[in-house]
């Protein structure tokens, strides 16, 4: 970590603001002495923000901002199904009950599998410029090695935590679903942590055709576990912010100020599936049955 070994450079410049974290500016005799700083990361804390709104925000910040971001959303408002970019509802969902119970279904801009999230889910998203994390190549396995190490710090002392076949697990039970999107010079790694879950909600999800080897043939309730059985909620959030803060200079940003950070048009892939799409999925499931 270069911030632990600051280099000293002396140059003329206009005044600059003081940052928190492992870096600071010194002013002396008309010259500004600057110590090499850790890259800045903007921290946005949300509570109960609808997951569609959160994903729209993330996609916007990934594509239309040049800053690094850490977004923490403490729960979403209503139970919602979120599929990866290539997800097909007919293959991944029990579409009949989803339609009957009017569960919203979102297709997100990142890869990966399907989750059902609700007010107990904890969301942590990290958006980084690749040059600000030079040890990480902009490819999925490299990003996940970095994130696995970061969360390893968060769960230090918690028995059995590991990144296992790209899942966050305690032992052989998954407690967090993660996914990535990588664009030219930036990437996002975001996670929905299963703080708690309603067994009934799991019934909306089919067993996917591709599963990690360690899953064996377990159904959802045998495969996942509740994070609340391992760590306090507030503890997890603060330890995560602290772990990120070891690599970045953190700056809290209010959601109301986001417009000044992300300007211009950008590709928007995240969307809510329509009722027509879900009904078509149900029809195609019936035909292939």
């Amino acid at each position: 970590n270069q911030s632990k070994f600051p280099a000293l450079s002396v140059f003329r410049s206009s005044p600059r603001f003081l940052l928190s974290g492992p870096c600071f500016d010194l002013y002396s005799k008309g010259f500004k002495m600057s110590i090499s700083r850790a890259p800045l990361m903007n921290l946005v804390r949300l509570k109960g923000t609808p997951i569609l709104e959160q994903l729209h925000l993330e996609e916007r910040l990934l594509r239309a901002s040049t800053d690094n971001w850490c977004i923490v959303n403490d729960g979403t408002n209503v139970p919602t199904i979120v599929m990866g970019m290539s997800g097909k509802p007919s293959q991944l969902l029990e579409v009949g009950p989803v339609i009957k119970d009017r569960i919203p279904v979102i297709k997100r801009f990142t890869g990966g599998g399907t989750v059902i999230v609700d007010k107990s889910t904890l969301f942590v998203s990290l958006i980084c410029n690749k040059d600000d994390v030079p040890s990480v190549q902009p490819y999925p396995r490299s990003v996940m090695a970095w994130s696995g190490s970061l969360y390893g710090e968060v769960f230090e002392g918690v028995d059995g935590f590991q990144l296992r076949e790209n899942d966050y697990v305690f032992g052989d039970r998954k407690f967090g679903g993660n996914a990535q999107s990588i664009i030219r010079n930036r990437w996002i790694h975001h996670t929905s942590f299963l703080w708690d879950y309603n067994v009934r909600n799991m019934a909306y999800l089919k067993l996917p055709s591709k599963v990690p080897q360690y899953r064996l043939e377990r159904d959802h309730t045998e495969f996942v576990c509740r994070m609340k059985d391992y760590i306090e909620r507030s503890d997890f959030v603060e330890k995560t912010v602290k772990a990120v803060g070891k690599q970045f200079a953190m700056k809290e940003v209010n959601i109301e100020d986001i417009d000044s950070y992300a300007k211009g048009e950008h590709v928007k892939s995240t969307r809510l599936l329509t009722m027509e799409e879900l009904q078509e999925a149900m029809a195609s499931t019936s035909q292939s049955a």
Partner: protein, 156 residues
């Protein structure tokens, strides 16, 4: 390594181009041009074929989905026109050169793994009608691209 060189030699023979065995494992074909974002382009008159390189597919992992652009869409050098999904990640595919999409490899919809097994042949992604052939001058030849990949990998 030997098997990959044998595959590359057969591809090169078919395409009537030469290939050099590199110190690192990725295959680089001599007759193509390359972008820093690891796409290749084969120019043929005013048309060009794009794909992602062997280096890219190797680092991405098993490709499970390819998002293809619509026919007739304009693509601009350096800008994203589609994506691949692998290992829970969507990764943008950036256009190495500007043009208009005239053909997409629809076989990738059912067989996205061709991007891994045959990145320079069956795994081609789109064909475009070029809008400015001079843009190719900004791309790397095979020697420069090989060196670029070595330097990139050496940093990590």
């Amino acid at each position: 390594m030997a098997a990959r060189f044998l595959w590359a030699s057969r591809v090169a023979s078919h395409l009537r181009i030469s290939v050099a065995q590199r110190g690192f494992s990725s295959v680089v074909l001599k007759d193509l041009k390359y972008a820093e974002s690891h796409e290749w382009v084969k120019i043929n008159g005013n048309k060009a074929t794009f794909g992602i390189t062997d280096h890219a597919q190797d680092h991405l992992g098993d490709v499970v989905y390819v998002e293809l652009p619509d026919l007739g869409r304009s693509v601009s050098q350096g800008e994203s026109f589609g994506a691949v999904e692998s290992v829970k990640a969507t990764s943008d595919i950036n256009s190495p050169i500007s043009g208009t999409v005239v053909e997409v490899n629809e076989v990738l919809t059912e067989s996205p793994g061709l991007v891994n097994t045959s990145p320079y042949e069956e795994g081609w992604i789109i064909k475009v009608e070029l809008s400015d052939a001079c843009e190719a001058q900004k791309l790397m030849d095979s020697d420069k691209y090989s060196k670029f990949c070595q330097e990139e990998d050496a940093k990590h």
